[in-house]
């Protein structure tokens, strides 16, 4: 079967991918960790060969073959959005699907159809393809070890080959896709080929209100597994009560041999060892419970972190892997209808954030992440909703360190499938109840969960944004609830389908509800604490009337704050021939139609990260209610 039809099939969303696991970094030694550069990882970022095709039919189908002549290919940077490298076109659109007015599409298996319609994406006249080739040799530290490749973000569907052999396929654009390269990898002259398709059935699930890009837009790295290797770790610091904590630690390994040991050291923030133990290396290692009396608690004002260190050794005491991971003690729970953190009522002074740079779109780096955290701290923003997809991994470490409460949102929004012309019209809603869409959305939840579950900063798992509600989202809810007893689950979209009021979301969440509507809920025997996952729509000159929301915090214990929409304007710098200046452009300025124009600019920061004047109001109120 031609693999290209996977684009059309919602049931095929990951092929040959390694199961999602924790995001710890492995070093070959403690010294490496202190230097901050692991020899067990090799970046493949940089210049790649590249060819753009307008659709799958005209793409170079055999470009992955070892003897393929790639003369005529261009060069592109990885990571980068293909549209910002000068191909295809920049397009901003909010809720409408990006093919509105150009293609008639209905999600497979909706409207009572029980057969798959082939060719919806694979045979489309317009569905661009990026064919990427990267030649590489292995770095010294990687040689002789099992190697996998991690794509941290590829939008939106992609196929991978190494040295002419098919490796795998992936769809979820905003979580890592990892493939084992071990059987095919060579020390030198490897040829890695990646074919990225702009749209697949994943497009129905990735209808976020943002610029619609494609390409390899986050890091690509090779990861080496030493002969003894920790694949997954699960640190569960649990507060028995506020005076006593325990740490459950479980490690999954992935190794050629299973002879060795693993040493666990726990240090406090002052670098004092508070626990040390050793276990025999095996496939699953359950450490004995560690009791910590009077643990320092983690919160926004005092993000106290402990550090776990794992040393993987052979029987001859040779250290082959070293891991260091921060964690904190905190308890998030609902007590008598009120969300509490460490026994105190939690107030969310939050903001929704898209990853954004006016130069590179969603390709951002350390500077943007750190700057954004600083902006949060300076303005008393204590919580960030990762709207509406998982962020780059470093973000969560920064939130752990800085006490930013994270609402970790699954990569899902299917807005265009249920809201049309401002009306609730879910006739072809996905994922809905449709069995063929279940796997894909549960996979998104699972991937995010296993990747990020060790981050103390994450208080909430969010099922996605504006995707209506049905059985499949209920199952996502169930997955998170079963997997994680220590966090709350959030979803707003059941507001539009009250059948799921009880069965989805621990919290009552609304967006843009007026203060009066919130009062009405809270005055009528509310069952769940209330938050606004989006409020204070800060488009242009806005953010008036914040007072009415903040005062609800005084009046109702169960009103627990909200997330401003949103953090930063999405606009792009373009050189303007007429004014001879770099200027900011928004939807519609790129000839993109239909568009939602300046609706992309709702930040409390301008696109260049300067604060909008409204920030002084945010700083005032979030400071007052912190």
């Amino acid at each position: 079967m031609d693999k290209i039809v996977w684009l059309d099939d919602p049931e095929i969303y990951r092929v040959n991918q390694i199961d999602s696991h924790s995001d710890h970094v492995c070093y070959a030694s403690k010294e490496e960790s202190e230097r901050g550069k692991s020899t067990l990882s090799q970046s493949l970022n940089g210049s790649w060969s590249f060819l753009y095709s307008v659709n799958a039919k005209v793409r170079p189908k055999e470009f992955y073959k070892a003897d393929f002549d790639s003369t005529g290919f261009d060069e592109i940077q990885v990571p980068k959005h293909i549209e910002l490298a000068g191909y295809d076109r920049v397009h901003y659109i909010n809720t409408m699907y990006p093919w509105e007015g150009s293609e008639y599409r209905r999600p497979p298996y909706t409207l009572g159809k029980d057969t798959l319609e082939k060719g919806m994406f694979s045979e489309a006249e317009y569905n661009p393809v990026g064919s990427y080739i990267k030649k590489f040799d292995l770095d010294q530290g990687m040689i002789g070890k099992d190697i996998s490749i991690k794509f941290h973000g590829v939008e939106q569907a992609f196929y991978v080959w190494l040295n002419g052999v098919f490796i795998g396929y992936g769809e979820d654009s905003f979580t890592p896709s990892e493939f084992d390269l071990s059987p095919e990898i060579q020390e030198k002259e490897n040829i890695l080929c990646v074919e990225v398709h702009k749209r697949s059935t994943a497009a129905f699930l990735e209808d976020q209100d943002f610029f619609r890009f494609f390409g390899i837009f986050r890091d690509v790295e090779l990861v080496a597994r030493p002969k003894l290797h920790v694949e997954d770790l699960w640190i569960q610091p649990v507060l028995t009560n506020l005076e006593s904590g325990r740490i459950n630690l479980r490690v999954q390994t992935k190794s050629k041999v299973n002879k060795g040991k693993i040493c666990c050291i726990i240090k406090n923030q002052d670098n004092h060892i508070i626990h040390e133990s050793e276990e025999v290396f095996s496939e699953t290692i359950q450490f004995s419970e560690v009791i910590v009396s009077n643990p320092n608690l983690w919160d926004n004002t005092n993000p106290y972190l402990y550090w776990l260190e794992l040393l993987v050794k052979t029987d001859t005491e040779e250290v082959v892997e070293y891991i260091k991971y921060p964690f904190g003690f905190r308890k998030i729970e609902i007590h008598q209808g009120v969300m509490q953190l460490n026994g105190k009522r939690l107030v969310i002074n939050g903001v929704n954030r898209h990853e954004w740079s006016p130069y590179n779109g969603r390709v951002i780096g350390e500077a943007e992440n750190r700057g954004d955290i600083e902006t949060c701290k300076k303005n008393h923003i204590n919580s960030v909703r990762t709207s509406h997809y998982p962020f780059q991994i470093p973000w969560y470490y920064l939130c752990d360190q800085n006490g930013i409460y994270v609402m970790a949102e699954t990569n899902m929004e299917s807005h265009g499938s249920w809201q049309k012309m401002d009306q609730i019209e879910p006739s072809y809603n996905v994922p809905g109840d449709i069995p063929q869409w279940r796997g894909a959305v549960l996979d998104r939840a699972r991937t995010q969960y296993y990747l990020l579950r060790n981050h103390t900063s994450i208080l909430f798992w969010s099922l996605g944004n504006e995707s209506y509600a049905g059985e499949n989202i209920r199952l996502m809810h169930e997955f998170y609830k079963n997997a994680d007893e220590e966090r709350l689950v959030h979803y707003e979209g059941n507001f539009h389908n009250p059948d799921y009021e009880e069965s989805i979301s621990d919290i009552k969440s609304r967006m843009y509800a007026k203060p009066l509507e919130i009062k009405e809920y809270l005055d009528n025997e509310p069952k769940k604490p209330f938050i606004l996952c989006e409020y204070m729509h800060n488009m242009g000159n806005s953010l008036g009337g914040m007072k009415a929301y903040m005062e609800l915090l005084d009046r109702y214990e169960m009103y627990q704050g909200g997330y401003i929409w949103d953090f930063i304007d999405q606009a792009l710098y373009v050189y303007d021939e007429i004014s001879k200046k770099q200027v900011l452009r928004y939807g519609g300025d790129f000839g993109d139609r239909p568009s939602d124009y300046e609706f992309s600019g709702n930040g409390i920061l301008f696109a260049n990260r300067e604060e909008k004047p409204a920030m002084q109001e945010v700083r005032y109120y979030y400071g007052k209610y912190k």
């Binding site: 729509h537 242009g540 806005s542 953010l543 009337g545 914040m546 452009r585 928004y586 004047p613 109001e617």
Partner: protein
């Protein structure tokens, strides 16, 4: 201390009324219907006559909640106002209107302690309403301005109500006593009260240029150019914005780079400013307290020196 015996020189022109003092010279134009010249130490400050203003550029929220449509006639009224009558008072007494030939009775040596000239404007709205603007000039050079808007049933809400001064050149900056930052009636709790200095005439670079730069709860504002200044002082607290553009220029641009080269100063002294809103950008209005109903009377009093 002002010399209390000092008087204004009055020049009863055929088309204008000139008023002079030690270091100032003002000319009110009967033909243009307002203050045509405001000279201090020989330097002209005005580009065109100050006029009542009814329009601030609409915001994204105004457009989203239909306010722009509902109140569009105020933009026309703001641009095309008509002066329908005027009168002059000398030392508090109305005199026969001093146009030709009535003014032939005067000399080149006329003086008074106080001169008041009032212009009545009629709006192009449906229904029409009227706005009066009185200028009372004192020998010190202080101009006291009293503006009164007469509310009318069935007039839509206003985005702003005040006086607009378009100054000849782009100012170097301004100083004011009031709230820090850009504030609106529904977004000013975070503003810190004090004296604030602003360099240049910053236009807040919203993606789509729109109303910006308002300062609420102001006692006075001083516009600076070439080490000289003119100072606006409110009888009560007022709001102002000091930008290089008129509301129409802002309204017209879809990107910052489409705004004209900044070359003048547009000083809006406002009695009322509509809130910006913020619940959403697709329907919600700012709260009732932050709207300006068109059917009520409003008075704005401030001085210029």
């Amino acid at each position: 201390m002002e010399n209390i015996n000092k008087e204004l020189s009055i020049i009863y022109g055929d088309v204008t009324l000139g008023l002079k003092g030690d270091d100032f010279h003002y000319i009110f134009s009967y033909a243009k219907g307002g203050l045509e010249s405001l000279k201090k130490q020989g330097q002209e400050w005005l580009y065109r006559i100050p006029m009542p203003t009814f329009w601030r550029a609409t915001t994204d929220n105004d457009r989203g909640n239909g306010f722009s449509y509902a109140s569009a006639m105020w933009m026309g009224a703001d641009m095309f106002l008509r002066c329908i009558s005027k009168y002059v008072k000398i030392n508090g007494e109305e005199i026969p209107f001093p146009a030709a030939p009535e003014n032939n009775k005067y000399s080149n040596n006329e003086n008074a302690k106080e001169v008041e000239i009032t212009f009545i404007y009629e709006t192009s709205t449906v229904p029409k309403t009227s706005v009066s603007v009185s200028y009372t000039v004192l020998p010190s050079g202080e101009i006291k301005i009293h503006m009164h808007y007469k509310g009318k049933d069935n007039l839509p809400g206003l985005p702003v109500l005040g006086m607009r001064f378009v100054l000849m050149e782009k100012a170097d900056g301004y100083k004011y006593e009031g709230l820090s930052g850009e504030t609106y009636p529904d977004r000013m709790e975070g503003g810190a009260y004090g004296v604030h200095q602003v360099e240049g005439l910053p236009v807040t670079p919203y993606l789509v240029p729109q109303e910006c730069g308002m300062h609420m709860k102001t006692r006075w504002a001083e516009v600076e150019r070439n080490n000289q200044s003119i100072k606006f002082r409110g009888k009560d607290e007022f709001a102002f914005s000091c930008l290089p553009y008129t509301s129409q220029e802002l309204e017209n641009a879809t990107h910052m780079e489409e705004l004209p080269l900044p070359r003048r100063t547009v000083m809006v002294i406002a009695n009322k400013v509509r809130g910006v809103g913020g619940i959403d950008s697709w329907g919600s209005k700012p709260g009732k307290d932050y709207e300006i109903p068109g059917d009520q009377d409003y008075t704005l009093q401030f001085s210029v020196k």
